[in-house]
Point group: C2
Chain length 172, copies 2
């Protein structure tokens, strides 16, 4: 039995987005059409953006506006997440893709910017060959339930706690 998987990378450790990017690279290497939507990261100058834009057959959308710190969610961020989610639904329904990455969507879900039930419904109804990769901390239990493969990235040691700054090629 071969089927499209829902893959969830969660937990507080580093490696969630990078593992999703690795799957995108691997899928692209097999000639699959790939779509990556970044829901929170707002930078357009990341290594992944520069790289993915050079890979023919990869469709990248950076719809985020940067990390949300406070308890309030500005309307502009809500609108950005809504646009990301509109694109995601459209890509899922199109039948054109074999791998779709919803990067950091759990943050948007946990802030009510993307409706969890709607996400679960779209995963359930999707083309059976489409793999969907979801990343972000604090994945809701119903999303863990819906996923086929779940890895928790557990932080054992983090360089930022050792006084090393975020740097190009590693953090972004």
């Amino acid at each position: 039995m071969k089927k499209g998987l829902v893959i969830l990378y969660t937990g507080r450790g580093k490696g969630k987005t990078t593992a999703a990017l690795g799957l995108a690279l691997r899928a692209w290497g097999h000639g699959f059409q790939v779509c990556v939507i970044q829901f929170i990261k707002g930078r357009q100058d990341t290594g992944e953006a520069a790289a993915l834009r050079r890979l023919q057959g990869v469709d990248l959308h950076v719809t985020g506006r940067g990390f949300l710190f406070g308890p309030e969610t500005p309307e502009s961020d809500r609108a950005a997440a809504a646009e990301g989610w509109r694109l995601a639904r459209e890509r899922m329904a199109s039948g054109r893709y074999r791998l779709l990455v919803l990067d950091e969507i759990t943050y948007a879900v946990n802030r009510g910017m993307v409706d969890l039930q709607e996400l679960l419904g779209c995963l359930e109804k999707r083309d059976g060959r489409l793999h969907v990769v979801i990343t972000g901390r604090d994945a809701p239990s119903s999303l863990v339930e819906a996923a086929d493969l779940v890895t928790e990235m557990r932080e054992v040691k983090h360089p930022l706690s050792r006084g090393v700054k975020a740097q190009a090629g590693i953090e972004f």
Copy 2:
């Protein structure tokens, strides 16, 4: 302070090699020279191999001969690991690279195919701007100690335990 990091992805969960590949993609997007050495995987027809061979500035070596199951390590596998390690040392010393991935090298270390003290010595002596990414289960504690960033990929749910076969674009 900006410096080359030693990044270790370990644990039993999926996402270690893919996270390393994601870092390779990100680094390549920033224009860095990247080298990836696969110590155990022996397949040449993986998605990552097809993809990385198309990225100019990425140097890929699949030196592995496939996963080792039994307690014995055949001489041919020892010779393959020795060749991978020779390449790794040469790449580390060359000064040409900004990111080096030693994929699944922990298995080679734990079987005595690559000497742990020699690996630690090479990490210590390397060019300060070179990032080294190490993957594999059961990383020795001295390697955890030497690393700047360590994530344990913890298996929460695995599709192969749900009757789904390994498939192109996801598992390889």
